[in-house]
């Protein structure tokens, strides 16, 4: 009631200002509606259809049939399994990142150059470095097998041409690519830990392991949490490196991820409806995993306060 009264007595100036306010609100709102809400709703509708891009979307609604089919789709589950296997790289990257960050968090010469070097892969084009690593992994002409042969005199493994090796190769690549980002985050986290905590611990006679276990690790937990969440979400969305290094999805489809499968379905085979359904399922999985993470964070994520 009060607000209504106020409005009636609004001055011309205030009215004009209110209009401008609406305009400013409209900008992000329209952007959100156009580029987020509309595509999401569209994908949801398309996921319940046999839409091909050429035929009519509304004339080919099939309800939940796409979803039912995905549940028994071997290729989808194989791609899902591979996607999850790739996530082995997440803890490896986190441990390595933390170790390197602790190494860099000292007064050592060349610290800035080292940090920059670790960060170069992060700012490099994913496609470019994927092409580069495809050559590093090359069976006959690659850097890795060149070194292997020089050392052992034997031919190295078929990094990208073997069902198991291709997964290991991609994990190595992803750890390398993501390491710099993790290092920078942990470095920032380490620098936020007040020095006096360590001094107090030293007076109490704590050794370095105890200091690490009781001070560093718990106080880095917010960073660990952030890295974990973003890596998990990113892990479910891996696509580019797979597409570049193994354009047909690897031997017997052994390197394909869910997004790779989705892309192949939608844009190679023209099954945009089915592809949308895969996308929706993926979104739901990511949502659930992230929700679980946020729920569980109280148990292990500590802050300085």
């Amino acid at each position: 009631m009060a607000s209504k009264k106020q409005k009636i007595h609004m001055s011309a100036m205030a009215k004009r200002e209110e209009r401008w306010a609406w305009l400013f609100i409209a900008a992000p709102f329209v952007g959100f509606m156009l580029f987020m809400a509309y595509p999401i709703v569209f994908a949801l509708i398309a996921s319940a259809s046999k839409w091909t891009g050429i035929n009519s979307l509304w004339g080919n609604m099939v309800g939940f049939r796409n979803y039912a089919k995905i549940l028994t789709d071997d290729k989808f589950w194989k791609a899902m399994g591979t996607t999850i296997i790739y996530m082995i790289g997440i803890p490896i990257g986190m441990i390595l990142g933390m170790l390197i960050a602790m190494g860099l968090n000292r007064k050592i010469p060349g610290k800035r150059i080292l940090t920059t070097m670790y960060y170069v892969p992060v700012v490099s084009s994913l496609v470019a470095v994927s092409i580069l690593w495809a050559w590093v992994f090359n069976y006959d002409y690659g850097l890795l097998n060149g070194i292997y042969k020089a050392l052992t005199g034997m031919h190295g493994p078929n990094w990208l041409g073997d069902e198991v090796m291709v997964k290991i190769s991609l994990i190595i690549f992803m750890v390398w690519k993501g390491l710099g980002g993790t290092v920078i985050l942990y470095l920032a986290g380490l620098q936020n830990i007040p020095r006096d905590y360590y001094e107090a611990a030293m007076i109490d006679g704590a050794n370095s392991w105890q200091k690490f276990k009781s001070i560093t690790l718990p106080l880095l937990s917010p960073v660990t949490f952030y890295v974990l969440i973003t890596s998990l979400i990113g892990g479910f969305q891996v696509f580019v490196e797979v597409q570049v290094m193994t354009p047909s999805g690897g031997p017997n489809y052994s390197s394909a991820t869910v997004v790779f499968y989705l892309y192949e379905k939608a844009f190679t085979n023209g099954q945009l409806g089915y592809g949308s359904a895969v996308a929706v399922i993926l979104a739901i999985i990511i949502f659930i995993i992230t929700a679980i993470n946020f729920r569980g964070q109280d148990k292990w994520v500590k802050t300085i306060d």
Binding site: R19, I54, D140, G270, Q271
Partner: protein
């Protein structure tokens, strides 16, 4: 009141973003987009759909410009406009753009503007889907033989019989007259829906220098090898040149996805039944025989091994002079003729012929055609333009290299191909493999040669064939026998084919 203002605000923002997107598009497109925006705004409550599409589309155009697509407009004094949307290589674009310019000059009084927009092949399909979703089709665009049915069923393209004269239609390769016809049930009959941009095929080539070094006679272009003869020749060409105990020159290299089917087709193999509803693989004796022959080439070491293949593909090995035979698409010829790319003498020959086929060497052909949008406001003019692009003699002389000396494709016009083009090849004016008759044999068919479109060109998508070619390396590796493989792969292929048929049937509005 507040609602109304919100509507205006939304509309203005949309308009702004539309205009922002227009900076890189032509005036013509910007005009269209603006009309849509106004329409949406005037509906007050903001039926955002149309506007969204328009905005998306223009944004799309802007984005693709960054990726190397480009559009140019050519103007006259008339009042008709045409929007042409194609994919092409950069050097092709120059030639075709000149043709469009000529066309505009010839129809100066009719034409106000022709927007000639060219993008890459990858971009093209996605942009076309966007156009279809937005119901905003260009006047002239591409249709492949595989898409004729769904484009016609969904009312996207016009029959050309009323617009293009019979002489023009009759001047191109028989195959291209056939594959763009559709009578509502079958492709290959009925009204004509497109004129060819090109016709191509996947022929076979051999490295003359390696034959000379081995002291062997060149393959006879009039009598392709039998399977057995081919194996014998390959054995003589598979050698350890530097004597380090490892083979470093092979008879042949094969890429399973594209280079396997010609061997199989040449043994009479068909993967699908007559009406393309059933996969015929598990109990297909011709296929068993041909696939055994094909995989044995690798098992017996006449091709690089599967591992070696993952390290360096057959194409690179051919360019490097490591293999004696390799597939040669008509689009590859220019590269192979270029000394910097391929510093060897070479020529064309036929794919080896299996014992259980019709005795002819078979391969697959490909084509893409120009069509006219059913929603075009100037269908007559659009049809005349595609006739120009497809069959203008000067244009064909230019793209085939008769006048330019650089052959991008073979002439669409048969008289020109057999006449001036062959003369130019023989006189050396066009750098081309001298056995060009092999290609013409595949195109037109004769006692030794025959060709058809791939079976995947007749189905909604190629997904049913993917499990087949992508697993063949397991046979080459000795992990599975041919027989087991065929038994194992058939259900998966059939399932994907059923899906494709269902999509095909759903493709009607």
């Amino acid at each position: 009141m507040r609602k109304k203002f919100l509507g205006i605000a939304m509309a203005s923002i949309m308009g702004l973003s539309t205009l922002a997107g227009c900076a890189t598009t032509t005036v013509e497109e910007a005009g269209e987009a603006e009309v849509d925006t106004q329409a949406a705004a005037s509906e007050e409550s903001g039926e955002a759909k149309e506007t969204t599409e328009a905005t998306e589309e223009t944004a799309d155009a802007a984005a693709s410009t960054e990726d190397g697509s480009s559009s140019d407009s050519l103007t006259g004094n008339g009042d008709k406009t045409l929007h042409v949307f194609l994919y092409m290589q950069e050097h092709e674009k120059t030639i075709y753009e000149d043709l469009v310019k000529k066309f505009v000059d010839e129809h100066k009084d009719e034409i106000k503007e022709v927007v000639f927009e060219v993008t890459t092949q990858d971009e093209y399909n996605q942009k076309m889907i966007a156009n279809m979703t937005a119901n905003d089709m260009p006047d002239v665009f591409y249709v492949g033989p595989a898409a004729v049915r769904s484009y016609v069923d969904n009312g996207y393209i016009l029959p050309l019989d009323d617009y293009v004269d019979a002489d023009t239609i009759g001047s191109v390769w028989g195959t291209t007259q056939e594959i763009y016809r559709y009578d509502g049930t079958n492709v290959g009959k009925g009204s004509l829906y497109a004129l060819p941009k090109d016709l191509s095929c996947f022929a076979f080539a051999y490295n003359k220098d390696l034959f000379d070094a081995a002291g062997l006679d060149y393959p006879d272009p009039n009598k392709p090898y039998t399977y057995d003869e081919f194996v014998e020749v390959c054995k003589k060409l598979t050698i350890d040149k530097d004597g380090d105990g490892e083979v470093d020159q092979w008879g042949v290299a094969n890429a399973d996805q594209w280079g396997m089917t010609p061997y199989l087709y040449s043994n009479g193999v068909k993967f699908l039944n007559e009406d393309m509803t059933k996969v015929n693989v598990a109990n297909n004796e011709q296929l068993k025989e041909a696939l055994t022959f094909y995989t044995d080439l690798t098992k017996n070491g006449l091709t690089p091994s599967v591992e070696q293949d993952t390290a360096l593909g057959g194409y690179q090995r051919w360019l490097d002079g490591q293999v004696a035979f390799y597939a040669c698409g008509t689009w590859d010829v220019a590269a192979f003729m270029d000394n910097a790319t391929f510093p060897y003498n070479w020529d064309l020959c036929g794919w080896p012929v299996g014992p259980s086929g019709d005795g002819k060497s078979h391969t697959w052909m490909g084509s893409v055609g120009y069509c006219v949008s059913a929603t075009s406001e100037n269908p007559d003019l659009a049809a005349q333009l595609i006739a120009k692009l497809s069959t203008d003699e000067d244009g064909q002389r230019e793209v085939s290299g008769i006048t330019s000396g650089a052959s991008i494709q073979l002439p669409n016009i048969t008289d020109l191909a057999y006449g001036e083009f062959k003369d130019a090849v023989n006189s050396g004016k066009v750098p081309y493999a001298s056995n060009v008759d092999v290609i013409f044999g595949y195109f037109d068919g004769n006692d030794n040669y025959a060709a058809s479109l791939q079976e995947t060109d007749y189905t909604y998508n190629a997904e049913w064939f993917t499990p087949f070619w992508s697993g063949v390396f397991n046979i080459k590796n000795g992990d599975i026998t041919v027989e087991e493989y065929l038994q194992q792969v058939e259900p998966e292929m059939q399932e994907a084919l059923d899906e494709a048929i269902e999509l095909q049937n759903s493709a009607t509005k």
